[in-house]
């Protein structure tokens, strides 16, 4: 039997998975096991699948995903910490026919950028917000975030978050769902293939809403891990996320087509 060569295998008919062209070839700078990479990929896949590449402008935050523009192969603007919804508003208001999204962490969106988030949502800006909630400030080395769970340890809550003195975790997604300017609000995860499929479906819906000029923001939270900040192995972090984060931040749609899900 003839030897099987590389060329024999790499044929279009054998293709089972292809990285989207909308991700650059640059190696991801995220920690191995981190959810950011998967979240980037599915956002870019949806933009490619919907054929939106030529009219999409993304806004990167300050946080681990500040370098999103290195990996997302589309036009991108990097915003100051917390200001992505305002930056996106500026772009969308002068280009109502283009597709604009922000990609933000929980510190960025729910602490320093709370005002920008609430007001962009309340004005019903016709943009997509992808909100990656890992319950911690990953980039700066694992400090407490507004989303850090009660009792959860971080470098600025070394004995666990004491809600008495440090305040309670903020459920920004439930909060924005109450605003008339949000059209679609959902909470997803990307730690298993099934979760990725569901998250992708939500992100597709979010972008479709914008394409179809639906009235208001589409807001997709992705509960994610930060194995480095949580000081766990990737596997342990995913397990910990299921056991601790999901009960507090339950997955599923919160508002669909402008209606709160009962």
């Amino acid at each position: 039997m003839a030897e099987i060569t590389f060329e024999d295998i790499v044929k279009p008919e054998n293709l089972v998975y292809k990285k989207t062209d909308l991700m650059t070839d640059k190696a991801l700078s995220y920690c191995p096991g981190c959810g950011h990479g998967t979240a980037h990929r599915i956002v870019m896949e949806i933009i490619e699948e919907l054929g939106l590449e030529e009219k999409t402008i993304g806004v990167a935050p300050v946080g681990c995903s500040v370098l999103a523009y290195e990996f997302m192969n589309i036009d991108m603007t990097q915003a100051a910490h917390g200001r992505a919804p305002a930056v996106a508003t500026g772009i969308k208001r002068v280009y109502p026919d283009k597709i604009v999204f922000t990609y933000q962490g929980d510190g960025d969106l729910a602490a320093i950028g709370t005002a920008e988030t609430i007001h962009a949502c309340n004005r019903g800006e016709k943009i997509v917000i992808i909100f990656v909630n890992n319950g911690i400030y990953g980039m700066t080395g694992g400090q407490m975030a507004p989303t850090t769970l009660p009792g959860m340890k971080s470098s600025t809550s070394p004995f666990g978050r004491d809600v008495e003195s440090m305040g309670n975790p903020l459920k920004m997604t439930e909060l924005v769902a109450q605003l008339p300017g949000t059209y679609f609000v959902t909470r997803q995860a990307v730690h298993t293939p099934a979760a990725v499929r569901r998250a992708k479906k939500s992100i597709r819906k979010a972008f479709e809403n914008q394409v179809n000029k639906k009235p208001g923001i589409s807001f997709v939270e992705i509960v994610s891990n930060c194995n480095s900040g949580w000081k766990m192995t990737p596997t342990d972090s995913n397990k910990w996320m299921e056991d601790n984060m999901f009960p507090f931040y339950p997955l599923g749609d919160i508002k669909v087509d402008g209606q709160l899900v009962k």
Binding site: T77, A86, G90, V94, K98
Partner: protein, 361 residues
Amino acid sequence: MGELKLMKGNEALAEAAIRAGADAYFGYPITPQSEVIEYLMAEKPYDRTGMVVLQAESEIAAINMVYGAAGAGKRVLTSSSSPGVSLKQEGISYIAGSELPCVYANVVRGGPGLGTIQPSQADYFQSTKGGGHGDYKQIVLAPASVQEMSDFVKLGFDLAFQYRIPVLILSDGVIGQMMEKVELFDQIPRLTDEEVAEKYPWATTGKKKGTERRIITSLDLDSNKMEEHNLHLQRKYKTIVENEVRYELIDCDDAEYIIVAYGSSARISQKAVQMARKKGIKVGLFRLITLFPFPAKQMQELCKKGVKGWLAVEMSAGQMVEDVMLSVKGCAKVEHFGRFGGIVHTPEEVLRALEEKIIGD
């Protein structure tokens, strides 16, 4: 001749924004400049030219909206007064760092803190020496009339796009609130999206297949590259210093003494010069139009012509005077006269200061 109108400085600035073909204004109310957004909202610029006007939730949000839209190649502006401009500083640093064009106005009021709503020029340092973080400069235009409040919007956009730099129109409560005759320039058409994409290839207008993507950022984790970027910025600022200095000399030909002032202080000082000339004092007015770039060379030349003393007149405790000192390099005496905290000096006070501080001894 363009249309003649009696307008407040703030209104003239707003009208000029529409006529300059601006695509958007983002702002937040604060005295003494709220007429800018009030005028724009009442004028319905969207119906006139398609220009967008949005009242943001804060000055921070407003400047970041400007950042986003400017990064996408549009002609956008914001305006505020001192406390609000302090809030904008982070955004301005980002705009300078990522080399975006924009125009913004500060109708200065007295500080520090909440201060007063009355006129002041105490934001000179903030405007010319940084304001935000990092080694950056912005072009600073100082209107001294309602006419210039209008003209500098157009000039500001031209300079902003030529150099891809933020341009600050540094006004004050006097110029913002007073009415004067203004000749409005004719409507400049807004660029279409296609024209923007063609004219400004750096702008994030959506990546065409097979082309390089555009990234608007001020970040580079590689310090060597960041230093290179800083050097590039410094070269740009040098070009601006060489080419964009603007000023006006009044009665300086035979002047033994010179008053340096900008904005409303220049108007008041001009009256003091008239009064002094009546008394036979040979004094002239050096009115700064650009605060950055600062006309250092031009001051040195006057020094060589034998000017014996310089009086820096400003509504601050002494800010611009430092640049006058650096410019004349000890060739003649430099003194400062200022009122501050919202008090506007009178022509009589300026004349007295000239006589006492410069001529007197």
